[in-house]
Structures are given as structure tokens and as C-alpha cells.
């Protein structure tokens, strides 16, 4: 099998896809985002409890490919208990790691896993779907 593929579907993504973090519906959350890609039908709801300018709890539910699901799961895991400002920063980091070769740029292992999607331009959107929506929400 193709090495680039193996790179993409390696542990982080497969793990999160098979065992997503906080995969649950919380319809009563203070904020519910919908991350939807009409071209492929991927659709996740992200349930966020915001209090005191911080994300107190965050869950997600929905349907999508391994990449989009894992990326949403990684996001949920990364943003829980973060202040809004820190969450913004994390979104920026993730999207930067996704789109740019990160020479010397320190990044998290779970973020870097998605950089392999750069080899599959058709899949970049899958990796960024929920993060894009989250960014829009956080930046107001």
C-alpha cells in the first residue's frame, strides 16, 4: 500500500476515528455549531458549554469520513477547558500546521498527523471542516 496513505491513516487518525473523544449529543449546550460540507455530506454537530470566557465542556456527534471525524475528535479534546483566547490560538495552530510545512514550527503530534492530508488536496477540507467552523464561531 501507498506510503503516503499509511502516513495519513496512521495511529492518531485511526485511533480517533474508531474511538472518538466525547462523542455524544448535548443538545442543551450553550452553543451548538454545525460543520457541514455539502460536497461530500459530512456533517458534525459540536456542542459547547461556554462559561466565564472558557470552554467548560465540549462534545460532538455526526457523520463523516475518518479524517473529518478524527480531526473533530482531536479538536474537541484539544479545546476542552481552554479559555476562548487559548482556543483561538489552538485553532490557528492547527490550521497553520495543516496548510504549511512547519519548519521548526513547534506543533503537537496530534495536530501534525493531519499534515499528511497535504498530500491529498481533496481531503484537506475534511481535516479542516470542524476547525474552520470553530474558528468562525470563536472569532465571532
Amino acid at each position: 500500500m501507498n506510503d503516503k496513505l499509511k502516513q495519513l491513516y496512521k495511529d492518531v487518525i485511526l485511533k480517533h476515528n474508531n474511538d472518538p473523544f466525547h462523542y455524544d449529543k448535548k443538545e442543551n449546550a450553550t452553543h451548538v455549531l454545525e460543520a457541514y460540507n455539502p460536497l461530500c455530506g459530512d456533517k458534525f454537530k459540536v456542542f459547547i458549554e461556554v462559561e466565564n470566557d472558557a470552554i467548560q465542556s465540549i462534545h460532538f456527534h455526526g457523520y463523516g469520513c475518518a479524517i473529518s471525524k478524527a480531526s473533530t475528535s482531536v479538536m474537541v479534546q484539544a479545546l476542552e477547558n481552554q479559555s476562548i483566547e487559548d482556543a483561538k490560538e489552538l485553532c490557528k495552530n492547527f490550521l497553520f500546521a495543516l496548510h504549511h510545512e512547519s519548519e521548526g514550527h513547534p506543533s503537537r503530534e496530534d495536530f501534525e498527523a493531519f499534515a499528511a492530508a497535504r498530500e491529498f488536496p481533496g481531503r484537506l477540507k475534511c481535516a479542516s471542516l470542524s476547525w474552520d467552523e470553530m474558528s468562525r464561531f470563536l472569532e465571532g
Binding site: M1, K4, L5, Y9, C40, G41, A66, F120
Partner: protein
């Protein structure tokens, strides 16, 4: 594997006409239901038109313009002969299937449709043969009625008979489902509808390239298809209509080349088909479509169908050997369009694994979102074959699917 029969439709020879396979020798192009690759004659036909023959049509007196006009109009003859239309007056040039259907909706149906009337479509329509009818129903207060199908993806003809009524003003049905591959009994559909005096549009986007079409025998009122799905250029298509309809229909797009007389106060339109062809059409595209139809007419459709039945049958059988793969669409009469899905693997991931090995299939809802809802799946992976595809390509696809399944488990 070994070919078990002797065919004159030899994909290995036919492939040689298609430059894409020279440039991508390793490409298994199994996305023919989305768009087909083009033979060199079509590509050259378009290029040579621009290189040697380019002129605007219909009004020129000089040689280039006259020859361009003649060549352009000859394509109407070829289209008529390809689908068995009685005359070139039945042949309207459009920009594609979608445009043809929208034209019939706006120009033919809208003025006949009122509140409480009904339009019948099937559960397996492409968005192109669904949304236009849905929108005209919303506009007029009519009802869109959907003919259901069984779990194999076969139309429920009893339900069709039941739902046909005095209120039915139009039936629109896909000839071959681009998602399930089901071949619908269009002759019966037309028959039953006509018994009630209801006109029928058949969406032939997926049928013209492979199956013999005779609109006179089928007796449908309208028949539409796209150039790019019959080995031709993008941006062109054909709308066939019965003359009694075309002549009574008012044009809905206006511009040059479709008029008889114009003043600031009023306009008298030309006859059909010209009145539907406002402005400069896709001249080079239509000429390219002529070459595509010429390419098609070289082959015996019976042999094409025979080959594709074998190829599709082989693919379906081999796919069964992939663990937990489910084929969606198991109609008895079907074309070599095969949708499948895995419970735990998203179609996009499937397409990515195949794409990495240079196997092009499509993943998603295939512009049949409501059909996906019926099967309660978000999408499928779809492999669609034509007669330049080979048994070996099936083998390659199945091999990758098995590897993927193993890797992801």
C-alpha cells in the same frame, strides 16, 4: 482472469483511441457515470474546428461561415439518427441534460400546471430531474409525487399505476439510475402514462452511450442527454421533443438567432428548434458532439451491452468477496454502474485509498441525496464502467479494497 468470450468490442483496442490513457497509463478510470473520457477524434474535431473552420454560424455569407453552419446543422441529423428521432426539427441543442430538463419544465409544463395537479418522478432521480420539477410544483401549488422502489432499487410499477391519476400532468423518469444502475422500464412508463394522456420526459443521461435508443418506439414526449456523457465535449446536450410539443412551446431564453422579426414593441420568434437556441451556442462543442456520436455509431450497441453486462457482472461478483462491503442497487436489469458502501468506512476514505492507486471512482451522494436518505446511508462509493474499461481494472479495484479493509480493521 481470462475473457470467456470473443468480442469485437475490444477495450484494449478501443482504449488506444483515448489519449488520456496514454498520458496516464496506470489510470483505472471508473468514473464514467460522472463524465466520460474523450476519443482523439472528438478532441481533434474540436481543435480542428478552431484551427481551420472557426466562424459564427447562420448569418455569414463567406465560405468559413457557410461551412461552419453546414457542419453544425449536420450534427442534428446525426443526433436524430442516434436516438431514432423522425426529424432534425425534433432536436434542440442545449448545454446539457440539466438545461434540457429545465427548458421543458419552464416552457412546456409550467403553464399547464395548477394547484392540486401532480407531477410524478421516481425515487431514484438525479437532482437535475428532481429539483426543477420540485420548484415548479412549489411555484404553482402542484404536488410532486414520488414513485417508490423496492430495496433492490427497482421501480414499483404497481405504485406507479396507482399514483397516475387525472391530476397527473407530467411524468419524469430517469432511464438508468446514475447511482444504482437500475434500468427502468421506460416503455411501460410511457405506455401507462399515455393511456392517461400524460406526457413523459425520459432522462437519458446514463443510457445513450451504451444502450440502443429509439425515441419513436419508446414514444416518450421528451428525451434528454448530455454530450460529455457520450464521449463528447462538456457544455452541450440534446433535447428531443415531439414536434407537436416543441411547436407549441414558447421560448424562455431570448437573444439573437431565434427570431423572425424584432421591433422595440414586439418579437416574433423563429420556428423550433431555433427558437430555443438563443445567442451564440456552443458551436465547437456541438461539432465535437457530432464526432462523439460518430465514434459511438462505429460500434454495435448489442455488443457494447453484452460486454458491459459481463464486465458489470464480474465486478459485482468480485466485490462480494470484499468483507463487509454492501452493494446498493441490485435491480434485475442494470447497467455497469455499481454503488457500494462499508458500514464503518466512509466513501471518501474508500475513494482516497483507491485514488492513491490511480483508480478513479466517485464517492458521495451522486446528486441523488433523497435516494441516499431512502437507503439511510450518507453516500456510496461508485464505480461506473464503459467499454474502454477492463476486467483487470476490476481486479485492481477489488485488490485495493481488500487491502484497505485489512489496514483499517
Amino acid at each position: 482472469m481470462q475473457l470467456k468470450y470473443k468480442i469485437m468490442v475490444d477495450p484494449l483496442i478501443i482504449r488506444q483511441d483515448f489519449p488520456i490513457f496514454r498520458h496516464h497509463p496506470n489510470l483505472a478510470y471508473l468514473d464514467n457515470a460522472a463524465t466520460m473520457q474523450k476519443p482523439e477524434t472528438v478532441i481533434q474535431g474540436v481543435a480542428n474546428f478552431y484551427r481551420k473552420e472557426n466562424a459564427n454560424i447562420h448569418r455569414g455569407v463567406y465560405q468559413l461561415a457557410i461551412e461552419a453552419t453546414e457542419k453544425y446543422e449536420r450534427v442534428r441529423h446525426r443526433a436524430a439518427s442516434l436516438i431514432g428521432a423522425p426529424s432534425t426539427k425534433n432536436i434542440v441543442y442545449t448545454s446539457g441534460t440539466t438545461a434540457g430538463i429545465n427548458l421543458v419544465v419552464q416552457s412546456f409544463l409550467e403553464k399547464r400546471l395548477s394547484k392540486d395537479d401532480e407531477v410524478l418522478i421516481t425515487a431514484m432521480e438525479h437532482h437535475a430531474n428532481l429539483i426543477p420539477w420540485q420548484m415548479v410544483c412549489k411555484k404553482t401549488g402542484a404536488q410532486l409525487v414520488v414513485i417508490p422502489m423496492n430495496e433492490r432499487g427497482e421501480l414499483d410499477m404497481d405504485a406507479f399505476k396507482e399514483r397516475l391519476s387525472g391530476r397527473t400532468k407530467m411524468v419524469a423518469a430517469v432511464h438508468i439510475s446514475n447511482t444504482l444502475g437500475s434500468i427502468n422500464p421506460v416503455e411501460d412508463i410511457v405506455d401507462l402514462a399515455h393511456k392517461r394522456g400524460v406526457p413523459v420526459l425520459i432522462d437519458g443521461a446514463q443510457s445513450v452511450a451504451h444502450y440502443p435508443i429509439d425515441v419513436k418506439e419508446m414514444d416518450c414526449d421528451f428525451f434528454v442527454f448530455s454530450g460529455h456523457k457520450v464521449f463528447g465535449p462538456t457544455g452541450v446536450g440534446i433535447l428531443y421533443g415531439k414536434e407537436e410539443h416543441l411547436s407549441s412551446m414558447a421560448p424562455v431564453f431570448f437573444g439573437g438567432d431565434m427570431i423572425r422579426e424584432v421591433s422595440f414593441e414586439d418579437t416574433i420568434f423563429a420556428e423550433h428548434p431555433q427558437k430555443f437556441e438563443a445567442g451564440t451556442t456552443n458551436i465547437a462543442g456541438i461539432i465535437g458532439l457530432g464526432y462523439a456520436m460518430m465514434f459511438l455509431q462505429q460500434y454495435n450497441k448489442k455488443q457494447i451491452v453484452k460486454y458491459l453486462d459481463e464486465l458489470g457482472g464480474y465486478a459485482r461478483q468480485e466485490l462480494k468477496s470484499v468483507k463487509s462491503l454492501k452493494i446498493v442497487g441490485k435491480a434485475k436489469r442494470k447497467s455497469p454502474i455499481i454503488s457500494f458502501h462499508f458500514k464503518n468506512i466512509h466513501p471518501h476514505d474508500v475513494a482516497t485509498f483507491l485514488g492513491a492507486e490511480n483508480i478513479a471512482i466517485r464517492a458521495g451522494h451522486h446528486c441523488t441525496q433523497p435516494l441516499m436518505d431512502i437507503f439511510d446511508i450518507p453516500g456510496t462509493s461508485r464505480a461506473s464502467f464503459t467499454f474502454y474499461n477492463t476486467f483487470e481494472e476490476v481486479d485492481r479495484m477489488v485488490k485495493v479494497l481488500k487491502e484497505m479493509k485489512k489496514f483499517l480493521s
